[in-house]
Every structure is written in structure tokens, then in C-alpha cells.
Amino acid sequence: MDSRRSLRTVIDPKVRQVGFFAPPERTNSGQTEPISASSSSSPPVTEISPSGNSLSPVMIPPPRHSSDSRPVPVVPNPHSPLRRESIAAGSSYNPSDFFPPTMSPTAPSSFAGRVGVGYGGEYTDDVVVSSPGRAVRGSSVKASAASSLPSGGFDLRALRASSVPASELTTVSTVVKLPPGIADKAGGASGGVQNDRPANSKPAKERSTKAERRALQEAQRAAKAAAKAEGSKLPASATSAVNVKPAKATRAPSQKNDSISVAASEKKAGDRLPDKDRKKDVPQPRMQYDDKSRVEKAKRRAMVNQTEATNRVELFRHLPQYEHGTQLPDLESKFFQLGPVHPAVYKVGLQYLSGDISGGNARCIAMLQAFQEAIKDYSTPPEKSLSRDLTTKISSYVSFLIECRPLSISMGNAIRFLKSRIAKLPLTLSESEAKALLQSDIDRFISEKIILADKVIVKHAVTKIRDGDFLLTYGSSSAVEMILLHAHELGRQFQVVVVDSRPKLEGQLLLRRLVEKGLKCTYTHINAVSYIMHEVTRVFLGASSVLSNGTVYSRVGTACVAMVAHAFRVPVLVCCEAYKFHERVQLDSICSNELGDPDAISKVPGREETNCLDDCAKSEKSTKGEKLQYLNLIYDATPSDYISMIITDYGMVPPTSVPVIVREYRREHLWI
């Protein structure tokens, strides 16, 4: 056994040889390793650590706008080149340094920081250190790009047209061609950068803790205020960071050692990677909305002025809750003003706000397409580099979207993907090429990770539907709908129970579509689920996300349905695309959730007279008003015990295998 386990580290995991393979061959496959390693795993992919991402999809972070971020300059500074570089490294390295320390680290700015520019990783350090050079190169390239812009723009449009997800097969084949070259280039580029690194290494700032960062921020702000003192302050902050460094340095080797056995079996892409992954693992605190001072500060920066709901449930005070429907007209009127947010993104944000777009996949696709538009119209401002400026841009868009509605985990993953792509753009690309590349990347993400994944899920799930089955589904999941329709097309004889719940009643839409296609349906509310369950043979559920302990994070009520099904020993099948998997672990649905419109609970649509609770709730300041609080949760967490199987684009797996997929494929998610 021991020999077997240790040998495994040598073998390329993708052609892992179980049982059947003889020891001699192992050496053989070891020989082939370099080939596969160089082709399949390229260093840059692995350097972004998704595990470090602690962006909470359901939190509203304090917003950050380009109006804020624009003033973040590479500090104008007439000193020697060396000095200039160090300042650039220090400041750009961590854009949020320029924001008030109260800013929540979960904000998209920090997200940007992690993925694009990076807080603490060596990788990001590489990028940043080389960035002055890059900026120079970028600007020199830009001049030529500007002259050749018309043709570039044309290409770009053609590319877009060809890769519309509707015609998957051709698109995918054309699109799939792209990455190797890109990968090679990126790998080469970053490799070169890494080689440069020891020479001009500037490691002092990279590994500061939050407190030190804050100290640094304060120092820098002070430096800015007293502009003359700037020259002396910065070295001071640098030395303070240097003091931190030795401790980290001593810790790093041990981390490396114990992680090598793990990491080597994972990927042998580079021995520097694993400890990098680990260093970013430190979770960052989320924005807690019961912290008044922080909320105040966050609000000052907000562009969508949401009014806080009054009567809030004590247990959920840490979640943002706003009066619904108050700010929409105001925002709509601003649509035609020239704001910092791209109109396409603005539109999508309003659609989120009004609830016109809902559902994990739909929201994610809408967001990505809006970003695509924004990238198309983007042009790098003078004296900035595309990768960094675009990242800040995207971050500001994201924070706008979050103000409209908290991100879903799927969107968080998609944003992470986009930012990692931007960060890894080869330096040699001209602006138009880079933009075209990004747009095609987005198209590829949509078609491969969402549309094709759904097709694969349908293919797998249909094998579990037999003639005479009685299937139950809850709410309205696009994947489940496709499965049911496909099984019906195949001529399977089965019936569907659509279980629904107030206040959204999404099941009715699903029911309408199913009945139109001729399926035999039963419609009931969740109150009756225990009654109907013993006739049911399979439960199909959608999911907003699957967390790595197998917990399914989904529309509120799912846990209830799954629990009842488990009690009746009915298999529960969860259909979820792998891009929605997340490495976070969550044990309950309290600590992170989304609050919906509280009034929706008391109101019955179409029957305004049945609002007998209104006088209780609305009479503000009265004792009654304080005693009645509405809680309208959007999501809940289903423990993995209740789940029989998760159907994903990698096949049908037990919930215990979610971390395996996250571990084996997260790089691929970022890379495609």
C-alpha cells in the first residue's frame, strides 16, 4: 500500500493507473510525464488560488467606484527611477491601500486584489514588480494598436459573431483551438517574469497581515495629505513591512515541505505553487451589516441608495436588508446619464434589482455578456496598463452589481475566471487583441461551463429516469427543466410533481412550460410535500451552489424537500454545473444568506385586502411594530446526508466527491 501511495505522486493524475497497471509501466508513464505536464498544466494557471477567494457571494460589500478608484494614481513622483519603481510596486500592488481601512476585505476590490493584483502571493508580486516595465511596453504597443484599431475592431466583431453560444458545436471547436497558444505565451511570459524576479525582487510588502496593511494604508494616507513628507514616509512603511518578513520566511519552508506530498499528487506543475495556495487560504472577515460604523462608511460610497428596512430579525442583522422597489425608478432615470458604469452593466444591474433576471445561470450569463460589451467598448486610459485598469473597472462594475443584488456563487466564480484571464493576458498583446481574446474567453466560459455542461448533465440524468417514475422537483431549476423535457422527448413515461412555495411561486412558470410540452404534471405547495412524497420515486433538485462539504446551497425550501425525501428513502438527485462548486464550507444557512423583500411574505398578490398583518407591521415606533418582524430568506443549506447523488458535468458523483472535483478541476475552471 505504501509503495502504491507514494508511487501515485509520480503518476500524472489524469492517467492515474489503478490496479491494472504494472509497476514497470509506472516508470514509463513517469517518462511521459514532462510531455503531459507541459501540455496540460501550465504554471500560470495554478498560481491563482481560488481557495483564497473569500468573496462572499451573498454579501453586499462596501461599494467601490471608478470615481474612487480613478484617483488612485501611480503616485506622481519626480524621484529616481528606482524610487519610482518601488513606489509603483507598493501602491499598485494593493490598490485597496488607498481606500479607507474600514473597507471590508470581502469587497470586490479585495477580490480584484486577490485575483488580479493580489494581496500577498508571490505570483502577484511577480506581476507587480514587473509592471512598470509592462506599462512601458503596453504604452509603446498601444500607439501601434491605436493606428491599427479599425481592423482590430473588425476582427473583434467577427469573432463575437462566430462564437454566439447558440451554435455550440462549431463554436466550441473554433474556440477550443485558442488556448494552447495562449497558454504557451502566458507561460513563457510569466516564466520570464519569474526569472527576473530575484534580481529586482521587492518582497517587502507581499506578506503583510491585515493590521499591517492597515498601518501601511494609514501611513500612506498621511503621506498623501502631507505631500512633501512623502519621500520619507514610504521607506518607513517599507521597513515596517520588512520587519514582518522574516517571520513569514521562516514559516514558509515548513509549509512547503508538508504540502509537497499533497501537492505533488495533485499537480506537479511547479514546486512553488502549493505553499502559495496555502498562504492565501486565510479567510477574511465578511462585511457584517450589524457593524454600524462600517455600514455608514460603506453607504457613503454607495451609488445605489438603498434604504435600510426597518424591523429586521435580530438573528439576521449581519445580512443586508433593504426596502425593495424604492430605488428602481431613481436608478432608471439615471440610465442615460453618463456614469462610471457601462450602460450594459447598468442595465443588467437594474434587471437584477427588479427581479427580471433570476436564477444562477441566467444571472451569470447576463453578467458575463454585459462585461463582454463593456470590454468591447473599453479603451485603456493613457499611462495605464490594460490588465490593471480593466481589473479595477470590472471590480467597480461588480460592486455596482452587488449593490443591486448580492452575487451568487456562480457569478463569483465567473468573475474570478474573468479576472484571472485579465491578469494573465500576455504582455505582448496589443489592446485590440487582448480585448478580442477576453471576449472569446467569456464566450467560451458561457458555452463550455454553462451550456455544454447542462447538456452533459441532461445526458447523465436521463439515464436515471425510468418508465413509470414519479419525479418530484422543487421550485424552478433550468437544469431540471431540461432533464424533464429531454426525458419526455425520449419517450419515457413518467409524471412530474412540481412543488412550489410562496412568495415567489417560481414553480408555476416551470409548470406552465412543462404542461405546454405535454408532460403529465401535478402541482402542489411545499406544505403537502410529506403527503405526496411516498408516491415519489425520484427527487430532482437544482442548486445555486454546492459547497465542498457536500452542502447544497439552494432556493429556500430545498432542504425541507430533501429532508422529507430522505425520511421516505426517496433518492435525491441534485443537478448542478461544476462551475458552481465552491471550496467554502458552510454548516447552516444563517451566517451567509440573502434576505428578500420582507413585505412579500405578508402580501398576497392580487388580493390587497388580505393584508391583515399590515397594521401590525407598518405602525412604526409603536410597540406592535417592533414585535413583528418578517424574515424572507432566499437560500438555505441542505446537508449532504440528504443527497443521494450530485449530477454534474463530470458525471454522477456522491456529495463526498465535491471537494475532489474542486481540487482536481479548479485550475481548469480558471483556465478552461
Binding site: 489503478v18 490496479g19 456522491p654
Partner: protein, 401 residues
């Protein structure tokens, strides 16, 4: 389906009516696209009755104490479908036989008849024979040929999980070994054949590894319950006996092919104290049992196992009495299947001998295997190590994706 509420009895009747009218066309639709070649191969299959599982027949022939009335019963069972009984010789000349002098399935069945050879080994040897007989000149052609052969082999006996897993493993080796692509064709071909030849040895080695691993779990004075005859479990017990461990074995009878009798014979030869139980006495004796040892026909993605009928109930009883259930299975039995419940597998039937004639109106449950969900299993002993059930999926994902 088990309809518990009255309203569905009506529905079921509706469905039955609909089903009986549509049955004919669904039957004609069901075979896979390459049905012409399938039909030809079906004739070559000695076990031409598709309802009887060839895999379990072979097992019975290898491990069972076969009585004469069992044979008579089997004959009668096969006799119920006289239209399938056409002897292969009669169809050979008229069918596609002359154009196809070599048949994987014949080859496979030859290998399969050897009692010590695992099913997957037989499959891979048959595929090696395909490579040898092949006239392909490029790797691509050979791959296509192999793919065809393995598909027909798999469809010849859908009930055998290790056959499917063996074919998949070998195909995976062929398609994914990048070394093969850079080699000259002939050397690649000989490498493949060599690999296939080695597989038998590997399978034997796997059994030895499992036996060694499981020694730590067998302590002096323990009582082990085993079900049916499994080569791996026998190897485990034999190794334990040879290393002078003192333990007692309870063997179930293993109806209907009585494989337990054979195991008890073999163990008695090794001077291990054996007690034979009828299958229904499992719960009665579970108090005295310290651990349950079973083999597996297949280990599925969920970490559960598919094994001879009766394993599930033994696991349930053991679970409810907090006794550990250990499974001994080679890693080539890992299959990318995910049954949700007992009926979620392709049916594998076999004839059952009740000793007395059964009236025709009485239905007989003839399934040969059941599925034991992972929550009732404690550990799996495989040549990859001692695994918890949830690791199986990990291994499968790494192997097949």
C-alpha cells in the same frame, strides 16, 4: 413500482395497458445502433438466453456445488425460451460468420472458463487476442478495432461489472497512454499485448496485497462471517490461517448456487473452524460475529458494492448490530456506475432451484445480485489500500476523468 396509495393503482393499470401496446416497438428500439453485428454475436454467445446472466452462470459453474437437480432446473429455465435455443453452428454459416473468422466473444468465453482467472483478466486477454489478430497498420485503426471489440464484448454480457470495467481500463490505457503515440506502430502494438499479458499477474498480485492489508484487521479469537464464495475473501482467510491466527468462520450457504458450501470445504481443508449457516440464520448468529467479510462483483461510484444476493441484508443486520462490514475487492472492479436503488441496475437473473416444482402462477425473484449502499459498509480493502467508501469516487474521478 410499489404504489402505496390507492389512486395509483388506477394509474398503474393505465400504464400497463399503454405499456403492453407499446412494448413491441420499444423492444425493437432498445438495442444499440450496431444491432446487425450484435445479432450475429448473440448467436455465438453460448448462453444465448439474454435474461440469464452469463456472469453468474460462470460463477456458479466455478464455485458452486452443483447438484443434478440444479442442472435440470437450469435446463428447464433455458427451455422456456426455445426460440433462443438455436445452436450456434446452425446459424454460423448462414450468418456473417465466414467474413469474421475471429470473435472476441468466443475468445473471452474460452478464457472465462478457467476457474482461477478473474473476469476482467479474461476480458483483457480477449482484447489482447484482438490486437494479435488485427491487421491494422496504424494506431488509429487499431484503436477503432479495439473499441468495436470491447463494445461487443461489453454488450455480450451486460451483467458482468468487472468485464465492463476491464474493457474500460484497457481501452483507457490504449487511448490515454501518450507513450504509445510517439512509438513506432509495431512496438506500440507489442507493448499493448505485453501489458495485457501482465494483467493476469497484476490481478493475482492485487489479491495478495489485499490479503496482506486485511491481516491487521483479523485478530485472534475473532469470528468472521462470510457470504458466498469470493476468491479474494478466501485468499484473506487463507493468509490469516497460514500466519497462525486463531479465528472462526461462519459461512452462509449462499443459495441458490451454494457457493458457501465450497468455501466451507476449502476452509475445513485449512483446519479453520467453520460453521455453516443457512442464509436466513444471519441475524440469529450476528451476536457472535465480530466482523463481516464480503467480496464484491463491482464497486460503484457511490462507494457501495454490487454483490451476490444476500449481501445487502447481511450488511443491514451487521449495521444495526454495530458490527463492521469489510469488503475485499480488487481495484479493477471499480466501475463508473451509480445505482440509486436495487432496481436501478440491469437485471441479472439466474435459475433458482426450489427442490419442488413451482406453479406457473407464482412469480419467482430470480435476481442474482443486490446493491449495498455505502453507509452500511465500514471499509474496503483494495490493492490501492484500505479505503473508506467515499474514496472510491475519488479514485474513479482521477482514473476516468
Amino acid at each position: 413500482m410499489w404504489w402505496r396509495s390507492a389512486s395509483f393503482i388506477l394509474d398503474k393499470q393505465h400504464q400497463d395497458d399503454a405499456a403492453s401496446s407499446s412494448k413491441l416497438e420499444t423492444l425493437s428500439l432498445s438495442p444499440p445502433p450496431h444491432s446487425s453485428s450484435m445479432a450475429a454475436e448473440a448467436f455465438q454467445n453460448p448462453n444465448s438466453n439474454p435474461k440469464i446472466s452469463a456472469y453468474y452462470q460462470t460463477r456458479a459453474a466455478h464455485h458452486a456445488v452443483v447438484t443434478s437437480d440444479w442442472l435440470a432446473q437450469a435446463q428447464a429455465a433455458v427451455g422456456r425460451y426455445p426460440e433462443d435455443q438455436a445452436p450456434p453452428e446452425a446459424d454460423g454459416p448462414t450468418g456473417s460468420e465466414p467474413e469474421k473468422p475471429f470473435s472476441v466473444i468466443d475468445e473471452f468465453n474460452n478464457w472465462r472458463k478457467q476457474p482461477d482467472l478473474a473476469e476482467a483478466v479474461a476480458a483483457i486477454r480477449a482484447l489482447a487476442a484482438v490486437i494479435r489478430a488485427s491487421e491494422a497498420t496504424t494506431m488509429m485503426e487499431l484503436e477503432i478495432e479495439l473499441k468495436k471489440a470491447s463494445d461487443s464484448l461489453k454488450s455480450s454480457d451486460t451483467t458482468s461489472i468487472s468485464l465492463t470495467a476491464g474493457c474500460d481500463l484497457f481501452m483507457r490505457y490504449v487511448t490515454r497512454t501518450s507513450a504509445l503515440e510517439y512509438e513506432e506502430f509495431n512496438s506500440a502494438k507489442s507493448r499493448l499485448i505485453e501489458r495485457a499479458e501482465k494483467f493476469g499477474e497484476i490481478s493475482y498480485k492485487a489479491r495478495r496485497i489485499i490479503a496482506m492489508l486485511s491481516q491487521d484487521f483479523i485478530f485472534d479469537g475473532c469470528t468472521i462471517l462470510v457470504h458466498g464464495f469470493s476468491r479474494v475473501v478466501f485468499e484473506v482467510l487463507k493468509t490469516a490461517a497460514q500466519s497462525k491466527k486463531l479465528f472462526r468462520v461462519f459461512c452462509t450457504e449462499g443459495r441458490p448456487d451454494r457457493t458457501g458450501l465450497r468455501l466451507s470445504n476449502e476452509l475445513a481443508k485449512l483446519d479453520v473452524p467453520v460453521k455453516l449457516l443457512i442464509d436466513s440464520a444471519v441475524a440469529y448468529t450476528m451476536d457472535e460475529v465480530d466482523m463481516v467479510f464480503v467480496g464484491a462483483d463491482g464497486v460503484v461510484e457511490s462507494g457501495g458494492i454490487i454483490n451476490m444476493m444476500g449481501t445487502y441484508q447481511i450488511a443491514l443486520v451487521a449495521h444495526s448490530m454495530n458490527k463492521p462490514v469489510y469488503v475485499a475487492a480488487e481495484s479493477y472492479k471499480f466501475a463508473r456506475l451509480y445505482p440509486l436503488d436495487q432496481k436501478d441496475m440491469a437485471p441479472a437473473l439466474r435459475p433458482i432451484d426450489f427442490g419442488v416444482p413451482i406453479p406457473s402462477k407464482v412469480e419467482v425473484e430470480r435476481s442474482a445480485r443486490d446493491y449495498t449502499p455505502p453507509q452500511y459498509l465500514t471499509l474496503l480493502f483494495t490493492d490501492l489500500g484500505v479505503l473508506t467508501p467515499s474514496v472510491v469516487s475519488d479514485e474513479l474521478i482521477q482514473l476516468y476523468l
